[in-house]
Symmetry: C2
Subunit: 195 residues, 2 copies
């Protein structure tokens, strides 16, 4: 692991544990066993470190969602895949994702912040598209507002960063399948063999 | 509005706009038109102000959820009511709720923090109970893990604090009904007239 990579890894751990607003460059330096000045050799600021953690994750998530939407699968299958894409990021990268989802970010680097916000907006729109597609193909209930539905499913997925603990008994594949069944079939117990 | 109440109201606005970690006693004093010292006449610390905003909201939410669970309605109706309880708090109190849901809190007052965490844990357990009840009465799909389901619906509701904007076209009653339909019937378009 390169020194640079090690700084990012340790920073991600500290961010996730203490919150970004309560983390200082000193905290990160201490965890890596470097002096504060040495960190500045690699990164300009704390925000710079945070962005280098968040941007690649968001770019990957966005690309994976776009790939799901580009297939010719049914909207139902795309829903399953999109939930998987959204939640698989918690598995190896749950620390980074939990930071991404939990904090409000105040960056001085407005250009990179705009880039991040644009990625997040685009991802929401991909989710809205997915719902609209399912309504157009008569797979999904056409009476529901596609934006509220999209934000609802995204909320289920993103809230996982608040409660998921990789050491506990609930596994990510279980969460994916449960959320898919919930959002596609609902909780009500009826004979849905035909679906 | 008493001076004390005014401080809480202004603080809530600033917390919601800037995030708690980026708010100082000075910011609040300035918004109320007082000196920093005058704020300390009413509150011991910033955390103290935050807790006085969050605790009453959480207590009300918890009591309302308990009341829903204490009725003899069907699990399906309880689900609708519980979603309503969870989301109605955004209407007059959306600012406070958005703070509550968005920030990680680091309080020095461990006793009050424990009280808050206990309330939140109890609320999650009430949601798990609701799902278990619906499974026991054969209203809800018995194959789903009740905890994952509960955290999923809670996630949908809590994530609203991230995107809801009271000035925009989406209304809270629409969100409540859409989330209820989504979580009870699912998105898939089938004849569910019988439900």
């Amino acid at each position: 692991m390169s020194r640079r990579h090690e700084i990012l890894r340790r920073a991600a751990e500290i961010f996730a544990r203490k919150g970004v607003a309560h983390t200082s460059i000193e905290n990160i330096a201490e965890a890596v066993g470097l002096k504060r000045e040495a960190i500045y050799y690699y990164f300009k600021s704390l925000e710079d470190i945070l962005l280098e953690i968040i941007l690649p994750q968001s770019t990957t998530l966005h690309r994976n969602l776009r790939n799901v939407m580009a297939t010719h699968h049914s909207a139902k299958d795309k829903l399953h895949e999109a939930i998987r894409v959204q939640l698989d990021s918690y598995n190896p990268g749950y620390l980074e994702m939990s930071i991404l989802m939990r904090e409000n970010h105040y960056f001085k680097d407005k250009k990179k912040l705009d880039e991040l916000h644009k990625l997040w907006q685009d991802m929401t729109e991909l989710w809205v598209d997915l719902v609209c597609e399912g309504q157009a193909s008569k797979e999904f209930n056409p009476d529901l507002d596609p934006r509220i539905v999209a934000l609802g499913v995204l909320g289920m997925c993103n809230w996982v960063s608040r409660w998921f603990n990789p050491g506990q008994s609930i596994s990510i594949p279980d969460v994916i399948d449960t959320f898919f069944t919930m959002s596609s079939q609902g909780l009500l117990y009826v004979d849905k063999e035909s679906l």
